[in-house]
Symmetry: C2
Subunit: 238 residues, 2 copies
């Protein structure tokens, strides 16, 4: 997976860069739908609220996809990105925890069109197991490893209560899962060969209130000076 540039020097791609690639891909898909065939880093930057230089630099980690004086071919660049990200295949995903949140995840229509198929769902609660949710029979956690290996599942989504999250993660790792998306509001430990990312809306809200000032309805002034960097923050163009 280490990328070699034109000059055959091994270059570690920063994770921040990898995290931006899907956003480029999405913008390109929208452009395709809009009928565009070519796009410049400038145009892409306007759409994504980031600098053209950053887009060019990011893409240059992986190859030379553009044409000077013209820009990037929308279709071929999106094909390249899909290739780089490993998205030109289906990924089967296991869901652990089929409570309120887990059910919302199973029912979320955004995964399938992008090639992520929730192929198995597990819960430890015997009242849930055996139930069918969105065409999936909830299995007991005891069957987790068997099913994950049988279906060659490498990605898991965890939506269990915080106190049991680490145990579930340990089990998933043991069964061979290599990427985990957790919705549990807790820190997770995993060996370095397993990628873990957490989605936690409360943490997001709790950091945004910092900028609101705690006095109700007062002091809208001092916020303007502060500018965000990176992440999912929006950016002003210079």
């Amino acid at each position: 997976m280490t990328v070699y540039s034109t000059h055959q020097r091994a270059v570690e791609v920063p994770d921040v860069v990898v995290q931006r690639l899907p956003r480029y891909l999405r913008a390109l898909d929208q452009l395709t739908q809009g009928g565009a065939t070519v796009v410049s880093s400038q145009q892409l930057g306007e759409r994504l609220q980031m600098t053209p230089a950053q887009i060019r630099k990011d893409l240059s980690y992986f190859g030379r996809f553009g044409k000077q004086g013209q820009g990037y071919n929308v279709l071929s660049l999106s094909e390249e990105l899909r290739q780089i990200l490993g998205l030109n295949r289906q990924w089967r995903v296991a869901l652990v925890g089929v409570g309120r949140l887990g059910r919302a995840i199973i029912g979320y229509p955004g995964f399938a069109p992008e090639g992520f198929q929730v192929a198995a769902a597990f819960d430890s609660n015997p009242t849930h197991t055996g139930q069918e949710v969105a065409g999936l029979v909830i299995q007991p956690v005891a069957e987790l490893c068997d099913t994950i290996r049988r279906l060659d599942i490498q990605i898991a989504i965890v939506a269990v209560p915080a106190p049991v999250t680490q145990k579930v993660v340990d089990l998933l790792v043991e069964c061979g899962v290599r990427a985990i998306l957790s919705y549990a509001p807790t820190t997770i430990q995993a060996p370095p060969h397993v990628r873990v990312r957490t989605i936690d809306p409360v943490l997001v809200l709790q950091s945004m209130t910092y900028y609101l000032g705690s006095v109700a309805g007062a002091s809208p002034a001092p916020v303007a000076a502060r500018r965000p960097r990176g992440g999912t923050e929006r950016r002003g163009l210079p």
Copy 2:
């Protein structure tokens, strides 16, 4: 909101630092529950998978909360952080979009204990408006500004389809909302005095597959060398 250090020099607190504070707070709350009264940056770091130096540096933006040779008082540090983040009050939150996802958000039990009360819900679909969900009557979007101003709401959660997201955001901004948490898979524009953060599980999955390699069941090797930085990634201690 600009913070003055001991020496009265104005210091801009980096947003990455602000984003980590809620994680410290959560760890401290867990420690309290476990009966701990004092904690060192070392112990906190182990719990949160980050370096002690980073924790100390982060906290030092806001004051001197620790005691040499001893560590931090768990209770008073968590009180300080709550103060800094503006969390020692209730925040009323507006929800826009009461489809499948919006309903899951209304029903999510994690907000209230942290002081975030979903106080109003809106939808443009007349079949939804008037309905009661979790004790909240869904209002038409036409009433959005009135209600937001009447309830002095400064935070909104947006769970509408991508194509209408920008329009909803513009409206919210116009009504005086200053922080927006969006679940829509699309880039959002907002003036600099409005904080915007997006939660997008598909983007997360799409960047994780990069590290999996696209060959099914093969090449588990090259991943180990790559190390994450910041964000919600876990970190190995040196």
